[in-house]
Symmetry: C2
Subunit: 104 residues, 2 copies
């Protein structure tokens, strides 16, 4: 999957001592996305704006803040996170990749 | 540092079991760059086209194939690698980041 006519930031974001890293792009309409890698482990991310997380490689187990049920999200699937919320995400092994879209 | 009007690939490249990962962009003139993260460790990369490696965060120690001397390359500095050659690269701790430009 590719995005045309975007502005790409060369320097990426590093979270959890490098266990989650990403690069950011800004699209023509001003909206932002990040492309990221998640390495094996369990992490919690808080949200400000609402987010759509599309898994593009590998898989993960996700629990949205305030919800009881976990769900497995595989490559080709996505999950949405409300604004001012958060989610726990687990990658059992290897690497998962994602596109995070900020829904404003 | 940012690059405007590029095409960005959402799915990245994973090398050495995730110890080196990158995302690719194609610029308006058709040239390609990758933005990458290198985690602590020692790696060897072969080259086809000549490459310019700009370190944008952290630092590394590099030895170009066929050369005897190693050199430390810090954020803001770069090293060039001839075509059909290669380089050893060491990151002592943490994460280094780079922009790789393919010189055709």
């Amino acid at each position: 999957m590719e995005f045309k006519n975007v502005t790409a930031q060369a320097k990426g974001n590093v979270y959890f001592d490098g266990n989650v890293v990403s690069h950011a792009i800004t699209l023509e309409d001003g909206s932002k996305k990040t492309f990221g890698f998640i390495f094996a482990g369990e992490y919690y991310f808080g949200t400000e704006a609402a987010e759509r997380m599309e898994i593009t490689d590998g898989e993960c187990v996700v629990k949205i803040k305030g919800e009881d049920a976990e769900k497995t999200v595989k490559a080709g699937e996505y999950f949405d996170v409300p604004a001012n919320s958060g989610f726990d995400i687990k990658v059992a092994a290897g690497t998962a990749q994602y596109i995070c879209s900020y829904i404003v």
